[in-house]
Subunit: 208 residues, 2 copies
């Protein structure tokens, strides 16, 4: 007795395939998964393997989670947490001062950080941040320079923002006389289970 519903998975695959106007044979061609396997999957006659699911998702150009039956959404539908000026969770490191908002909310997918940029010159690249996912940074005041692995340094002033893949090594540097502050929202692929995800604050630098 399966612990999840294979029919839902099958239905999603079929829906997506129809949407793309593909036949089983065509999808098989693209994905490298046999026609028979596709049929069995779509009809819930097998629970499938992770490998196969990935092949199918890739072939239809959808993210896996589109055809993958999730845990029900009602698990989290009524959370709300306010962070006051003196709230959240604070952390001061060499180059930045952090205030993590919504620190007490576990299972959230975004990590909102109110940070003050102390650094005036970029540290060695090994110390730059890198973490899977996406990052959005909005400058609240001052002038900030974002250094990244793949781009020329980018200057961002108050009211401006930058959105980037945070797996790129990156670091912020203050350019203005006043200490710049920015609001950074990091999206990790796996929702943070802890209030202060250490991987967010961890840099590429080796551990002592």
């Amino acid at each position: 007795m399966p612990v999840f519903d294979p029919e839902e998975l099958g239905a999603r695959i079929r829906t997506q395939r129809k949407k793309e106007g593909l036949t089983l044979a065509e999808l098989s061609q693209r994905s490298g998964v046999a026609v028979s396997t596709l049929s069995k999957l779509e009809n819930g006659q097998t629970t499938g393997s992770v490998e196969t699911i990935f092949k199918i998702a890739r072939a239809m150009r959808v993210l896996v989670d589109h055809i993958f039956p999730f845990a029900p959404a009602e698990m989290t539908n009524g959370r709300l947490l306010v962070t006051r000026r003196d709230g959240g969770e604070r952390l001061a490191i060499e180059h930045y001062d952090y205030q993590l908002h919504a620190a007490g909310l576990i299972g959230k997918r975004m990590a909102p950080l109110h940070m003050a940029i102390k650094a005036r010159t970029p540290p060695p690249i090994e110390e730059w941040s890198t973490h899977p996912g996406e990052e959005f940074a909005f400058v609240l005041c001052g002038l900030v320079e974002l250094n990244t692995e793949h781009y020329a340094p980018v200057r961002i002033g108050a009211g401006e923002s930058v959105y980037f893949d945070s797996i790129m090594k990156h670091c912020y540097v203050a350019l203005s006389d006043e200490e710049p502050r920015l609001l950074s929202v990091c999206l990790s692929e796996a929702p943070s289970m802890k209030s202060a995800p250490e991987n967010l604050f961890a840099s590429a630098a080796p551990k002592p």
Copy 2:
């Protein structure tokens, strides 16, 4: 040649298990998956079946996508887009003025909105926003009241924030004389397919 990295899946399972302080034997007991299977999974020696993954996820009381490597990082790892003060995409509706940042970046999972709150009284509840996912709102200036379906109205001033499940009906209202501005970042659970970058799955697509 697996199309995804079994070692990442294994690493996630192990990370989560350690976080919960479980041994393989205990997790086996709770999940109904044999110890040997767990070990092979964690060490990337098998690609695993969907059924097994679900059992494990359920046993650790996490959503499947916590341990499931849905979007390999190498798919998008070098994007970066700056939004200037006059950039982005603007939209004015009755109650708010929006500036969508990073508008030109397709496939992003967060939607950062710089918004000015014009409304001074809540509209009828049928007009409130509701969308699956999570929302983080940081007040830049002024005093804002967030009305939600399940909570008493919440007042948030400059430098404060709120994080909530955006499926709850919600609306923002201005309380201060000055028109409040806030930065809202919405996370949708399923990124829209229309915006899925071509290059994400290019390798699987046969050329016409």
